[in-house]
Amino acid sequence: MNAIDVANAALEVVDGEAEAVAHVEHSGLARFAGSEVHQPTLIENAMVTLRVVQDTRVGVATTNKIDADGLAEVAERARAAARSAPPDDGFPGLAPPADPPKVEGFDEDTARLGPQEQAKLADAAIDAGGDVPVYGFFTSAMSELAVASSTGLSVQQRMTDATALVVAADENGSGYAEQTAWRAGGIDPALVAQEAAGKARRTRGGGEIEPGVYRVVLEPYAFADLLDYFSHDSFGAVGLLEERSYFAGRLGEKVFDEKISITDDALDPRGLPKAFDFEGTPKQRVELVEHGVARGVVWDRTTAAQSKNGAQSTGHAPPAELRDWGPLPSALSVSPGDAESVEELAELVGDGLYITRLHYLGVVHPREGVITGMTRDGTFRIRDGKIAKPLVNLRFTVAVPDFLRDVLGLTSKAALVNSQNFYGERYPYGVMTPAIASERFAVTGIGSKPGI
């Protein structure tokens, strides 16, 4: 059964107002460590979530038993949940019928990849590591999302995604690289491993520096992570409504350097395109920051109904199990700059730091956008405009608005960085960003040397 058939079958067993969201996954992930595959995982699953509405009382139930008995059971559990819910005057109603935009994001060749091919592509990465052992995975998947409801809504999308991710590391150094795309053919696991291994070789003998505020170049991997964490509180409607967002009270104001423009653009064929959200509302391209000016956040139907300013859903409703997080961006895209390369950014920095990747970020102060974390797998000093000696891993504590206030430059090319760690159901998303150079990056501690 494909996803829309599952959704329609679920909807049929409910009388009255209801919505069914079906999510189907066929995936394989060949995980390797120390240059051997050690955790190969193949997943076959189909989930359906029924949202039943009884006079503004809303109940939700989910199952992966999609035969007639299973669907009857899930319908009864959803009805029972609705009966226990108090009336909700703020319920915006189910989404009306929609004609979502046509998007890219499905590739037959990627969908056909099986365990043999997935293992072979992992093998290509392992071979390319050379003298540096590699740790990482190759994964590919075909997933489907469909939403059908009693309003007549019926939308479906087939998606493919593939990622090759490599940490190359030995006792003295480590490097990182990844490629993500909806076409596996656009990914070269060997190249990913070579990039990671090359960087690992350059990190050997990392030295220490004094904590302080430095100029910095962040590779797309690092900037994507920083921006993703900042977005959780600041680019979603819940953060704005609850005054947790840095944008609360600042919409329309210049908050960042004018070189910074950020959208959430799930329609971009260079990313991991999505046509609609988990309520079936068509995806919109949302202007979040335009030349440094805070322009908006993303909305779903629930938060739009709570808005006092007539906001409309932008197509960012999350899946049912994440509904209390509210709408969040899932296709962040940073406008590129003029720099031809990261080396050119290093020239702009002159004296500072070069950072490949971040690790284990934590939000210290959501309202001020302060985030802490560690650098990892490729941290270097920039001296005289050149990427120079390797450094140990560094702890940073950065107010993202400060980091983005004085931007020295961005590269002209952007990269798609995978943001899904494949928890729960497969739903590929990522951040499209160039590398960035900034005036301010606060190093607040010294960590361990790179290496395994």
Binding site: S27, F137, V167, H359, Y360, L361, P366, T372, N393
Partner: protein, 478 residues
Amino acid sequence: MRDVCSAAVDAATGAGAEYADARVVTKRNQFVATKNGRVERLADSESEGIGVRVLVNGAWGFACDRRLSSEGAREAALRACTFARAAAGRHSSRQLAPVAPASATHRTAVDRDPFEVSLDEKVAQCLAADEGMAGPEIVVRQAMVRAQREHKLLLTSEGTEVEQELIECGAGIECAAARDGVFQMRSYPSAHVGSSCQMGWEYVDGLDLSGEAPRVAEQAAALVRADVCPTGMMTVVLDGDQVALQVHESVGHPTELDRVYGTEASYAGTSFLKADDLGSMQYGSDLMNITADPTTVGGLGSFAFDDEGVPAERTAVVEGGLLTGFLTSRETAARIGAGNGGSMRADGWNRMPLVRMTNLHLEPGSGTLDDLLADVSDGVYMETNRSWSIDDKRLNFQFGTQIAWEIKAGKLGRMLRDATYTGITPKFWGTLDAVAGRDSWRLYGLTNCGKGQPGQSAHVSHGAAPARFRDVQVGVGT
């Protein structure tokens, strides 16, 4: 379900697997959440399927299928063997520590089955607590309760057949206050989706969410007016909740032997520990005693057998400050030549078991929180985790708490906000100079421990009491 498991194991061994195990898992979750007097989420989810793990020519393979039929089981087993064969060729020889085949059943003891408690009652509990947090400057009030029942049957090609039903539930409240651009949160009994326990609904009832709600709101409102925590080297006393997180991040993860061997390097990271540190590495002061105990009553990491069929056993990880144990699988135990595993857990039927914490405790010392404070002339007392970050080797950490108080001449003084502290793991544990006693020791249950690719979320508990650390770096500049 035994027939389904058996079909998978037979298919795998018939296809050449030298070892195979099959787990049929059915998991049901209920979750009720309210926000600002409105039910935000009322959900009841169920997922079932079979996961088959095989060892073919020394290479692992894992495949799963939602269909609980002989056909689904056999197909999953054959896919797992195909993946293992495709991945074979460069693997080293793989030994598994021996374990005696077991046949057993186990069920969490409960007074009130959480799934027998009506959704009406659950909604009412949340709304009552939500209402109890109302007040000026409170901009967000949230309450949640949850329940989970996981039934699993494990069959292995070595003859183990273990059936377990694990029941857990949890609850929590949280509110946020905002004033003049200052935003502060306060939670009970823990942040990040409350606290959970492997018990019946009596656990949730005992938390008395409604009774605690006014205090939580008062503290949130007071925090927006509180002074920012000062920075500097000072004595820090942590409440049990924050000690639990400290144990989790800086002892639990680094002692997972798969991290030590590098198999988690591409995601969660590795460890500053080496295998040969066992028995020789001084992890902390002599007051530091850490045990891994999957037999703890109420622990989220409690079971009779892990997901490899190894019986639950309490083991010492740190004794008198000395590293004496790792958390292991059968494979890593064989590699290090100590123990037989016992820490392998999978997040449901569609994930491969990984080395995970079970219940990891800081053993109690003596005295009370007041006794710990009494011996501090100038310091900070911190309560309830707010932020956490630690490096990939689990050495350099920075944690923040929701609330703090200055300690002056052995007594708590003014309330402080935005408190953080930072350190290097063994150095920090070396400054431990007091742990409160058994009467202050509590079990804290976390449901958001991430690891693995594809990602897996584990539920683990930590027993902890307030503890005192000297010469800690408090605060950082930005």
